[in-house]
Symmetry: C2
Subunit: 395 residues, 2 copies
């Protein structure tokens, strides 16, 4: 006999983890609009509009700017697989989980990978890449702009200069960056970039915005070997996203609706205003956490506003406190990955979640739970500190 | 200055092409439920439930049954890439576009591919594979149960016997099949199968249900080389879908809501009842098309009920008529792919679209447009023929 579970009826969460983040109600409404065909004239027009908006958000003129039909990791793999052929030398900056994954994907694509490493929570200086560039003579250098596992904000511009001086292309992970901090694809001379929808774009997971420079496109179109993945082969995808509209695979129609609306929201607010909002609420949260004596893992000069990675206070049981936050307050924050498991909390202030009410609620909930768990701090101090930051900003 | 397009406001279509098909309103409503985290206890429970429902729909006990985070083609690539290692011999049955794509994906995975061919619109007899099995000694034989490009319904059971007698594994494309015709994974001894959500499951595109036999899992877990794709590596995905819930990538939460509801609808109706509904309305449509002297491309004994591939009548301009159907009646039907381009229409009766009202509307619209385009037929005859078929069924 068939067994049929009850229908989908999710609890209401406040998503302040490393993603997915809170989805804007307008995005959820767009998601549920009636499905049309993937070659419908209306849908083709939406694709054009979405490409135009993605170019604005990526701050690029790159023609080949579109969304991969998979989550952020699919976009990551699409950029790596298409730029890399077997035997190519690739240099990867690894200072967290996602740099490590870039290296793994490049290896699977057949690359000879050189990892340049920094401790988790730190960022790279341009000098860190000098030796590897000289010895490996890489085709591609890959690094992470916003490392979701550590909350570290990697400066790109100076490294990009060095990478291009060495004749290599620059591949950048902007999954957690896009919409939260500047991603200056053209100004920084990035050759391939990928992002996700479920972080600072306030959209559910399911698509991966990507963009390729003219040089990257030329490299892809002149490959000697076929990309291992047919699904992620950019030379084929370009024909569907280009003027010819050659059928490749059936596009995720409704997710495209959602991303279209999410991009409209970001552009309505204004990119710079959006970054400023993330920064302000991050500073309020940081002031509150400081009042609770909860330190960040990253140094102040390289902290991502949208991803606050902080040390779990001594004596506090990581998983239990996060479970209580979820069950008693409906707040999701993230645990640590890899080396940081059990030791770090990752508090997201991404997209629609980056609001003062969420900061206040989280600080209030943390004060209540930490007190119950026996952690000592000045009661009310975190709320006061956050409020002071907003007051300074006139909000 | 930023340029912001108008919000998503799609026209109302009746989706009777080769997919996506009409999405059930309950599925659209589920899609827009509030997003939770991909490791939220509620979401993990939904995943378990979805796996249970997928097993029922695939008619399998296979533990490794889940949904790949991409469209049907991603599921296709996941099955091929994981079963095949470089140098492996693979035999593929090619009698349409999607068999050809299986061969292409196997080649990209490094396989030595032997194609067994039949003309488009025909199906394979078990005997067709004997020589290739003997000469190639393949590890995997791949073929398409429901060939979306031709509307041909491939019998599986006898070929499966032959394939397994030769020591090979059987990989089956069930993208257009699942929910429309039986997909008997266990009874037919299928080792790997993939499907899509946007055909007979009445769900938007974006996920790919897959299932792997114990033998396939053992083969995957004992690979000598890593799968080229990290995103589609089943050995990693199994740890997220299994008891350990090891983070791999951020799952497409809302699409999972939609598929969950779509599977509930199929199981509420009953699988056999669902197949009978597709068959009945297909027969009514076929009677109507016969009255219009529009012939099928596939022989009567191998016609898919859910995908009716028919010849464009002489003197009728394919693209113009399809555009008029779309613009004047809101009905989408599909054109031909590859060899069939310009010559064939593909009329889908898939999932929620497989209803008598759609058959009537399409036949009525075709009568009107074909008459205007100068095609000769007995007016009203197609409607009468369809109604007669429903009357025989007591409906």
């Amino acid at each position: 006999m068939s067994s049929i579970p009850a229908g989908v009826n999710p609890p209401l969460r406040i998503l302040m983890g490393p993603g997915p983040s809170d989805v804007h109600p307008r995005v959820l409404a767009a998601l549920a609009r009636p499905t049309v065909g993937h070659l419908d004239p209306y849908y083709l027009q939406l694709m054009d509009q979405m490409q135009g908006m993605l170019r604005q958000v990526f701050r690029t003129q790159n023609e080949l700017t579109f969304a991969v039909s998979g989550t952020g990791s699919a976009g990551q793999e699409a950029t790596v697989m298409n730029l890399v052929e077997p035997g190519d030398a690739v240099v990867v900056g690894v200072n967290g989980v996602f740099g490590g994954r870039l290296a793994e994907m490049a290896r699977r694509a057949g690359a000879e990978v050189t990892c340049v490493k920094r401790p988790w929570g730190e960022v790279f200086a341009a000098d860190d890449f000098k030796d590897a560039l000289a010895s490996a003579q890489p085709k591609v250098v890959a690094l992470v702009l916003a490392e979701t596992s550590t909350g570290a904000w990697q400066p790109i511009e100076e490294i990009s200069q060095l990478v291009h001086d060495a004749g290599a292309m620059l591949l950048v992970d902007a999954v957690t960056a896009l919409g939260g901090i500047p991603v200056e694809v053209d100004r920084w001379n990035i050759d391939a970039v990928y992002a996700g929808t479920q972080k600072c774009l306030s959209c559910p997971p399911g698509l991966a915005p990507v963009s390729f420079s003219a040089r990257a496109v030329k490299t892809i179109m002149n490959r000697k070997t076929k990309v291992h993945s047919w699904y992620l082969d950019v030379s084929l995808l370009a024909s569907y996203w280009g003027e010819d509209r050659v059928y490749h695979h059936t596009a995720p129609i409704n997710m495209t609706y959602a991303l279209h609306e999410a991009l409209r929201l970001v552009l309505e607010e204004g990119l710079d205003e959006c970054f400023a909002r993330h920064k302000l609420h991050h500073e309020a949260l940081a002031a509150g956490l400081d009042a609770l004596n909860i330190p960040y893992t990253a140094e102040p000069e390289c902290r991502l506003p949208q991803l606050n990675a902080v040390r779990v206070p001594d004596g506090i049981h990581d998983a239990r406190l996060r479970r209580r936050l979820l069950e008693e307050f409906g707040i999701e924050i993230g645990g640590g990955l890899g080396d940081f498991q059990g030791k770090v909390w990752r508090i997201g202030l991404m997209g629609h979640a980056a609001r003062s009410k969420n900061v206040l609620l989280l600080l209030g909930a943390l004060e209540q739970l930490l007190a119950e768990e026996g952690y000592l701090f000045d009661h009310g101090a975190s709320i006061a500190a956050a409020n002071q930051r907003w007051s300074q900003a006139g909000q």
